[in-house]
């Protein structure tokens, strides 16, 4: 096996007195598509947010490729300098539940802003790439619209194109369809499915869409109370979960989904 691209080793994460991750260990191979499932409050978003550097953690180590989330001489995690954090973020992109497009920018500008500012791409090259991505998500005709003129599903597809424009090695999805009306879920899952075919792209997906998770993931991790209680191939987790907590959770969500 290759060395993992992402490795959490004994990571502790607390919010004040509340321990969210307790000696958390987790590794992801390059190109792997991993789905995180589990009850509300179990720490799934926290794992993604730590990877995106949006959340500091207290103890343990986290590495992404050969970069550590520690500053080499720093005093504990996340004493890292801005420059170090920006090097780390180069590899990671994130798609949020609430889309978070920039409301004052057109669709095209939303997508080209960061490649021009951060990757020093020339505007014409950035726009060409943005149009390619808009074609991929099926929104080429919306390039000059503003986010408020788009449906939730369309906004989320733009958000995916925006994240991909930075050419991340790792793309994080935190419940990308949970804020959508049911009839719009399919179009967003369709785009994620397309990305899942990209061999080199590593994906971490938090979702309640169990059927979709089963279809696209290489591995499913069941979270409860800040730990991975059980993980394995989707077939195994969904067909023959071993842990009672997994069985219980799957029963509750699957009956909910009908």
């Amino acid at each position: 096996m290759n060395p993992p691209l992402i490795r959490f080793t004994d990571v502790n994460k607390r919010f004040g007195p509340l321990t969210v991750l307790d000696r958390f260990n987790f590794a992801v191979q390059p190109g792997e598509k991993v789905t995180l499932i589990g009850p509300s409050g179990s720490g799934k978003s926290t794992v993604l947010r730590i990877l995106m550097t949006l959340e500091p953690f207290q103890e343990g180590t986290l590495t992404l490729g050969d970069l550590s989330y520690h500053e080499p001489n720093g005093r504990g995690p996340f004493m890292a300098s801005d420059k170090h954090l920006r090097d780390l973020r180069k590899n990671v992109g994130m798609v949020f539940q609430s889309f978070n497009l920039f409301p004052h920018m057109s669709v095209l500008r939303n997508i080209v802003e960061a490649p021009i500012a951060v990757l020093d791409m020339r505007r014409d090259a950035a726009e060409a790439r943005a149009l390619e991505l808009l074609r991929l998500v099926g929104l080429l005709d919306k390039r000059d619209q503003f986010p408020s003129q788009l449906s939730g599903g369309q906004q989320q597809r733009v958000a995916i194109a925006r994240a991909m424009a930075m050419r991340p090695r790792v793309l994080l999805f935190d419940e990308p369809t949970s804020a959508l009306d049911p009839q719009l879920v399919g179009e967003v899952l369709g785009v994620i499915r397309t990305l899942a075919h990209e061999h080199d792209l590593t994906m971490l997906l938090v979702t309640h869409e169990m059927r979709f998770a089963r279809e696209i993931s290489d591995r499913v991790c069941f979270f409860a109370a800040g730990r991975i209680v059980e993980q394995g191939t989707p077939e195994r987790i969904f067909s023959s979960p071993e842990q009672p907590r997994t069985q219980e959770f799957l029963k509750s969500v699957l009956t909910g989904q009908g």
Partner: protein, 230 residues
């Protein structure tokens, strides 16, 4: 005779008409002071609000104290301080510049509050999305946060601009030749103060009304032009 214009005191109306061109010259000074002072207040207020958001505790705390101090001292005292005390330390500024600095300094305390409200109203998710795209803090402020605050803060800033305009007559106490100062000087020479002072007193409400009308028009036009005012 002032600035080449003679006073015609044959009747009140003739007197008023004859001194209007003189007051017009003062009006230009008044407007220049207000515009320059407000631009300074906008820039300095932005600087205060950014310093107050610094991650370095001493910086944010220091900026908050300075802003509070500026807000709590009267404009007139700040003006006297700049005009009469600084020269003792070798800093000699022209009266007009002193006035502009004092106005701008005082109003920077108010505009920094407005900026702060504007920044606080930008959702945390916007910061997170921008961070996830690896934009630098400078870029996030310049391209993501500040543009989103502008429509929110514009009405409050407009109101402060109008009230600053109304405060410019204090500059006459440090010899700036604004409208009020010229009106006073005309009165000194003609021994007739009622007409010049009344004219100045009328010109201010006319100007502020015009400004208010302008601000309301903007509040109507901007949303139609796609700029949301929240």
């Amino acid at each position: 005779m002032m600035y080449g214009f003679t006073y015609d005191t044959s009747s009140r109306l003739a007197y008023a008409l004859s001194i209007l061109p003189i007051l017009g010259i003062g009006l230009i000074v008044t407007l220049e002071a207000a515009v320059a002072g407000f631009v300074f207040a906008l820039v300095l207020g932005l600087a205060w609000s950014l310093l107050r958001r610094s991650r370095i505790r001493a910086v944010s705390w220091g900026a908050a104290c300075i802003v509070e101090f500026i807000r709590d001292t009267p404009l007139l005292i700040q003006l006297f301080f700049l005009y009469y005390v600084l020269p003792d330390y070798g800093v000699i500024l022209p009266a007009f510049l002193t006035g502009v600095l004092a106005l701008g300094l005082q109003y920077s305390a108010y505009t920094s509050e407005v900026y702060r409200g504007g920044f606080d109203a930008v959702p945390r998710e916007q910061w997170e999305a921008a961070t996830a795209l690896n934009l630098s803090r400078f870029r996030i402020y310049r391209d993501i946060v500040i543009p989103q605050t502008i429509p929110r803060i514009a009405p409050a800033m407009g109101n402060y601009a109008v009230s600053m305009l109304k405060e410019t007559p204090v500059l006459s106490v440090v010899t700036v030749l604004d409208m009020l100062n010229l009106a006073n000087m005309i009165g000194d020479r003609t021994f007739e103060y009622l007409v010049p002072l009344s004219l100045v007193g009328l010109i201010f409400p006319i100007m502020t009304t015009l400004c208010s009308v302008g601000i309301h028009a903007l509040e109507r036009i901007l949303p139609k032009a796609g700029v949301a005012l929240r």
